[in-house]
Assembly symmetry: D2
Homo-oligomer: 314 residues x 4
Amino acid sequence: MLMETCPTHVGVSMYDMAIRLGHNQYGKAETHLVRIMRDTPRHEIVDLNVTTSLRGDFAAAHTAGDQTKVLPTDTQKNTAYVWAKKHSPDPMEAYGLSLARHFLTYEPVAQARIEIERFAWSRATVDGEPHDHTFVRTGPEVRTAAITSDTEASHVIQGLKDLTLLKSTGSAFKDFLVDQYTTLKPTDDRVMATSLVARWRITDPGDGLDWNAVYDRVKRILVARFATVESLALQQTLFEMGSAVLEEFPEIAEIRLSAPNKHHFDVDFSSFDEDNRGEVFHADDRPYGLIQVTVERDDVASAPDAWVASAGLA
Amino acid sequence: MLMETCPTHVGVSMYDMAIRLGHNQYGKAETHLVRIMRDTPRHEIVDLNVTTSLRGDFAAAHTAGDQTKVLPTDTQKNTAYVWAKKHSPDPMEAYGLSLARHFLTYEPVAQARIEIERFAWSRATVDGEPHDHTFVRTGPEVRTAAITSDTEASHVIQGLKDLTLLKSTGSAFKDFLVDQYTTLKPTDDRVMATSLVARWRITDPGDGLDWNAVYDRVKRILVARFATVESLALQQTLFEMGSAVLEEFPEIAEIRLSAPNKHHFDVDFSSFDEDNRGEVFHADDRPYGLIQVTVERDDVASAPDAWVASAGLA
Amino acid sequence: MLMETCPTHVGVSMYDMAIRLGHNQYGKAETHLVRIMRDTPRHEIVDLNVTTSLRGDFAAAHTAGDQTKVLPTDTQKNTAYVWAKKHSPDPMEAYGLSLARHFLTYEPVAQARIEIERFAWSRATVDGEPHDHTFVRTGPEVRTAAITSDTEASHVIQGLKDLTLLKSTGSAFKDFLVDQYTTLKPTDDRVMATSLVARWRITDPGDGLDWNAVYDRVKRILVARFATVESLALQQTLFEMGSAVLEEFPEIAEIRLSAPNKHHFDVDFSSFDEDNRGEVFHADDRPYGLIQVTVERDDVASAPDAWVASAGLA
Amino acid sequence: MLMETCPTHVGVSMYDMAIRLGHNQYGKAETHLVRIMRDTPRHEIVDLNVTTSLRGDFAAAHTAGDQTKVLPTDTQKNTAYVWAKKHSPDPMEAYGLSLARHFLTYEPVAQARIEIERFAWSRATVDGEPHDHTFVRTGPEVRTAAITSDTEASHVIQGLKDLTLLKSTGSAFKDFLVDQYTTLKPTDDRVMATSLVARWRITDPGDGLDWNAVYDRVKRILVARFATVESLALQQTLFEMGSAVLEEFPEIAEIRLSAPNKHHFDVDFSSFDEDNRGEVFHADDRPYGLIQVTVERDDVASAPDAWVASAGLA
């Protein structure tokens, strides 16, 4: 839907070219809602940051200021809150699918997009026991989901961000292309660190899928492969990580990995009365390498709309 | 180029589906370089944050860890620095085009992407006069550029972000769709505020274009239209802003506007011994509306690759 | 007041030492309020981030959970809003003084602290003219104030933060102490840049003071001195900046300057076919030097309470 | 040392008042160093952000630009790196004490301040086993230390920040002072959440102290008391948390707790066909309550210098 241009021609400029409305979307970003399940003394918490957006024929709102078919973003926010009560927000992917389907019932909405971040909490420990109603934030990684639904299909992209990984050996970088601007020295042994963003698209997200289990297992695979691949480059490590996920989960059509290479530079101790054999590093902020890799199945249709973010037209 | 999938099949999983490398890119993000022009006592400053990425046939790096054709991101960084000396970094669009063309000379590179942020500085004032070599940062808005080049063509997207605008009247929001979750009251007069991201794609960016003049003029048009449109919705205001830019610049094929609706809520004074007639507002952080609009010409080919960011595959 | 310890002994530990409540304060932080003056078609905007805190005998709230004398932070927020209507929020120092005096009327409040940030807006330009009701954020610098009032006196600290300055020559750093860990090379000519925080305490802030004029003039002096001092070190530059302010304003008892040394490193071009004579710099993020200097009069009493921030007990 | 004013009178203004240098300090902020212990295949990681500052008689640097006794911040950075090799960075308090004592050997240095943040990493799990050389960042809480040493004594403040806690019941707020600006309703049951900053000063930090064990135990006490106190106000909860720490650790002279009240507002469902009995909350960003409490022993001398941060003169 997004990929078709709205056909409404809305004016002719002095240069005799028609100017028209192109891709557009609108919604409410970052409704931060916390849902407490308190049916028993042992409470549960679900902490979500929800973004909704609607795509469809909203040309009149743009070209004539006509709001009669526009569901206000304030109402979208209210709906996200109500849905967290009417429907379980856990797993959040099912919550998001339900919310997306609701928005599709409004006439001009051709596609609804729901993006969710889930912040993790663990139970506080008191006298060695997990507490009934007190929680401690854990992280830094954040679980994410992006649901894109139209009347024909829904796409679900599960993911995580800010999963920060470091290996202190088992990573080389050498035999690279050298030109007149190369000053980097090859190395057999370096620190490799990243703050991983991973997103994987799940085909046929039927009711039987255990979203939480898939998430936990994919995360474990990513961490384990990061650890065990003898790395020749971050590209290779990422490709192996993604491949391992696809090998285990036939439901996953593709996985995208975005990884800043968080450089850890050996501090030069040559002027000092100490040596430094891969022991003391400067953890630099900027610039950083940025490596992005998709691993995908060759027999599954691509789904470009699934990857257009609520903030993606900019 | 990005839109074609790398054909290298790299393995067959136990489920008998081929897993392959999909879209990928890599580069150096956020090389923050400052260039001082000091040929005369009156110095000039150009303050750039440069991100480079390369797209092409880098399959061997991913599937075999083979770096022989990989230009390291460290070298890309060095090149960005050297280019700031060999070539004028002002206008930055020309600098970026030159840098992109350089990266295209490496064999596996099919497409080079250069993204630049420019931070603005004005001369310090001393005794009423602009100073020769002291500068004060201005903002908050940041000028941006994204250059995408392959052997056939280059796309340049000029833009800005964090341009924060507010109008204290001349904005209504009413006659919208009402459902069972609607609690928003219609209004004839509200504060409208946004932190604008705007990006406009320039066709045929030939040598004759005065990039700095175009930037300044587009910014002025955007601000002026924001001010003068009697707003019925942010969508309509954005569409008018974009249309005004296209009407004046035939070189601009499309413009994308992304605008958070930074809500300013009237504080409820009904319990107090004062009234509040649109005078005291709570400037809220989250959630916020998010409106994204494209305005485009109908006779210009679209350029999807031009819009794929260096961090865009995630 | 803050410097006296609350005498309430509240318990005796098993180690036979009395444990008691020490310094404490509470309030509402970051009430972001926007005030529009709309009595004429030419509107004015005042955009403030207000933090209030109360200090006094709140021991019962801590040791017994007794709230009977506790003015809730929610009420403090409401009051900040109402005060922006009852009293002019411009100049914000007078607004803060009035708000502080109000909070002192509550019995347990011995000292009230009001901290304010003011975000700057300029009028939008339309057809070369400043617009009546549309504004553009300027910055990045933010004007600040901290008012501390008790029944006997009020202290006002005016200030600014995030004023980012850079001089491209006129700064040396050499003849410093050298030890076995020194690798820095002395230089006669470097870029000097900082993001300045400055705060100046004004004695006897009577009604006749033109707060806005003082602010503007101090800011101009700081910028001008940064520009014109031939710098031998950031310490010296800051001392000269502060001294210049005190020389012009007898009302200012002391000024504190906090300045990160935002390092701009010459990029090493020795491997390349270009030279770099102070032309291309890497603007680094971390680590950074941090220089803090107080310049003061010797005949004015110090005011330690004036410098204890609302977030200062941590 | 910091509390004495430098006696150097450096000028007489036109108003015949002497202007002089007051409190000052300088150093290197945020040297982000990672230390890998790799003597065995099972590596260890210590990830520190180190800030150093020096206080003493640096008047000549300010008033005359004389650097002969100034240890450059660049050298301080180098020293922090070398110290991470010469001395174990774990526990970081001992590392900081050693580094502080080193800086005191330079003639003008009367007081050295070392501030450290430690970012936590846990071992990656592979096939159910902790991995030898791969680590995953945990958090969000960060362990902190501040060491302040002069020739007579050293103060150590241990602490943590960003420890985010939430209890979904067991918190009331009622019977508070009501005035004409009060709109808050009393409640018997609310969500209480905070992002805790805690700092505790340890007297006589001799060599026998197990810094890591103290840290772990204090953190556990804080979390447990937050959970178990039936809260009548955040002030009371914080006071109980602090008291519990002092009761268990005679070595701790005082503890300071700074706690934003991260408001979770019940979403008003009265217009909807659902009820909301403490189940769906809006987690708001700003404004927030800010409560700061000190709990201390009455028989231990205070140590104001210990609490002056490297960025504290602003």
